[in-house]
């Protein structure tokens, strides 16, 4: 006969384990906090490690000991002095302007326990240092820090069109003072690649007053119309437009045009107010030819068809961005059509403004301007 009591104990133990496991299944919903190096996607963070960031080169002075770089630092060195003294040298880069000169100086002054200076005093705090990489703003600041004594900062920053580089040596005053010549020689050795060759890859916020389909594939960008794939009938303006051949046209619609849900036929669709609407479609081939399309649109506007001879008078051409549009202005009855036909990449693209005559007449200038934003990728 099995030892029933022992078996009971074992089952109880297993049940207890099961309960513990069940409790563990409850997902952790506690708030956590932690400290991290500056995030690469923060506006203040460097992103030189990212692809496309400008390459930087320098010549390291002989007595500087390289330290491991970090997510924060593109360069890091330790300068050893007498009696265990050591100064820290860092090279960091920030996208954007990196703050104005006054903010930079006052940030370093704060690190040295110094009171901030005003704009009026700024000129006495900084110097200009010409080097092959460009014009550095150079500062030499000294202060007293608790537990560290007299501390000095040799700092410089170099602005590029889209980023700023900071070079900084901080350490005991005597050591840093002695290294001043070495530090400036280090700045002279800095070489930057062509800025145009390496723009910062951080997604810029698109300016608010824009309405464009020219978005990166990588993901949504705040500040522009955002429609996720999950949204049924997503606005096509947020999706790169694919023509039959796989290539796409891009454009910028006026900000007051409201995106309408697209469909399989429409590459873009906008409501312009007053019942006017712009539809963008693309088809393979010539879709029946110019004459048939012109007469179709004229028919929609209640106008008589034209023949080949009258086609020249019924259409006008617009050349923009290397594209040639054939524009039909069918403003006859209560409904008007202003349409543009664009043969491109083996297919035909149609940009069509329709609606009540008065609304179309009001929107026509904006529509014609809009056509000039259309371009091939």
């Amino acid at each position: 006969m099995p030892d029933v009591a022992q078996t009971h104990r074992r089952i109880a133990l297993l049940l207890a384990l099961g309960v513990c496991s069940g409790l563990a299944a409850c997902r952790d919903k506690s708030v956590t906090s932690y400290r991290i190096p500056k995030e690469p996607d923060s506006d203040q963070a460097p992103d030189a490690a990212q692809p496309g960031a400008p390459a930087i080169r320098w010549t390291v002075p002989a007595d500087w000991r390289p330290q491991p770089a970090s997510a924060m630092r593109q360069g890091s060195f330790l300068v050893a002095g007498a009696a265990g003294a050591a100064a820290d040298v860092s090279v960091v880069s920030f996208p954007g302007t990196g703050g104005d000169d006054l903010a930079n100086i006052n940030r370093w002054r704060e690190q040295l326990g110094l009171a901030p200076v005003s704009v009026a005093d700024l000129s006495g705090q900084v110097q200009s240092l010409a080097a092959s990489a460009g014009q550095f703003v150079f500062a030499d600041l000294a202060g007293t820090v608790a537990e560290k004594g007299d501390v000095r900062i040799l700092g410089a920053w170099l602005r590029q069109p889209d980023r700023v580089w900071f070079f900084k040596m901080m350490g005991p005053s005597e050591l840093v003072e002695a290294q001043r010549g070495v530090f400036t020689a280090f700045l002279q050795s800095v070489r930057l690649a062509d800025a145009a060759a390496g723009g910062p890859p951080i997604a810029k916020r698109a300016p608010a007053p824009s309405n464009t389909n020219d978005l990166p594939r990588g993901g949504p960008v705040a500040g522009v119309p955002l429609v996720p794939p999950a949204a049924g009938g997503a606005g096509m303006d947020s999706i790169p437009v694919q023509a039959e051949g796989g290539a796409s046209l891009v454009w910028q619609a006026p900000v007051d045009w409201q995106n309408l849900p697209g469909n399989a036929m429409r590459k873009g669709s906008y409501a312009l107010g007053g019942g006017a609407e712009v539809a963008i479609t693309a088809f393979p081939g010539d879709v029946g030819g110019v004459l048939a399309n012109v007469n179709r649109w004229r028919g929609q506007a209640g106008m008589a068809p034209v023949d080949e001879a009258g086609l020249g008078q019924a259409t006008t051409g617009i050349d923009s961005n290397g594209l040639h549009f054939l524009v039909v202005d069918a403003e006859g009855g209560s409904t008007s059509v202003v349409a543009a036909l664009l043969p491109w990449n083996g297919g035909t693209w149609f940009f069509k403004l329709t609606g009540p005559a008065d609304a179309v007449a009001r929107s026509k200038p904006a529509f014609l301007s809009f056509l000039r934003t259309v371009r091939a990728p």
């Binding site: 078996t7 496991s21 932690y34 190096p37 923060s42 990212q50 997510a71 940030r107 916020r205 999950a230």
Partner: protein
Amino acid sequence: MASPRPNPLALFTSLRLTVALLLLSIVLIFAATLDQVHLGVWGVQQKYFRSFFVFSQIPGTGFLFPVFPGGYLLGAVLIVNLVAAHFYRFRFSWRKSGIWLTHIGLILLLVGEGLSGILQQDHQMRIDVGQSRRYSESFRETELAVTETTHPGYDEVVAIPAALLTEGRSIQHPMLPFLVKPVAYYPNATLRMRSQTPGAPPGPATAGEGTDIVATPIPETTKPDESNWPTGYVELAGPEGPVGTFLVSTMMDQSEAFAYQGRTWRIALRAKRDYLPFSITLLKFTHDIYPGTDIPRDFASTIRLRSDDGRDDRQVRIFMNNPLRFGGRAFYQAGYANNDRTTVLQVVRNPSWRIPYVSCALIVLGLIVQFGIHLLAFFRRRLGAPAGVRAPAVGSGGSGPDLASCPPSP
């Protein structure tokens, strides 16, 4: 006449219970497979398998009631049943030690699977060539990150799970000089510029980009090729009054910045992050295809692994079926993007990942031991067979050949 009291031990050791549990498991799997069309793989796992009960809603009400045992319950009872039956029916003996080992291995396998379901975290890392990352991101979970960026060298992050935002209660954290009050939370939403949405009602946002954006909640999607975009409005209020109400959304690529009490902050809703004590830099990504086709033959990431403590700084090649195991996590080559300039690594953290290996080793060992015992017994019988045959023959006074009388072999 009173009916006999049910014996719980008999119930748990019943093999009928085993059969019933297996049948219920089949029904559960079948129902989950049918429901996968509506819920997707993730939703089905959560509803049917990673739950103690499958709940259903009474039509017209918000009341949920259990309709079927879930995977956790069936699995737990099955383990209890197997263990109880084993201890009840089998007595330990060395002759059956192999069976014991095999059974322990099987039970461990079940337990390990359960623990994996509970403890495993699946994250991903997307790294561009040349870029370094020191955190992975959850596929599913979202968090509100309130980050103090005042210090030039580091950021202080307070991460609030999105699950807390859905509860709507104000959140106070010692690191934050203000209260975080969830105003609204949508598991999925669309964002549109307010200027392009005439007639849209004013939103709760009073600060940041959100004042120019209209957020519209939409149903959650379960389709594998679509994403949900969790979105919410969060009010920050300090002792001196409200700081502002911000629109936060995973769809917004940058966090909102603001200043409070002379310190600078950023707030964002983002995929839940798991910061690592090391960084991974993608040095090179290769994507080979079979000649003349688009079929991937191999894709591999050459990364540089640098630990914060300086002990590790090495290159590692991660490719299909050859993950990097480091820091309690496994990094699998999962995909690629951005014209082969971005690698996608799946980061799996599963403290119980060794259990299946131990289980299989136990099962194999058990089988070897059991078959070994049988084999030894077989050989012993064969070697001892003549003696065994002779003994009864002698004992019985039979006339069998007496090997002792045979001439010795040369």
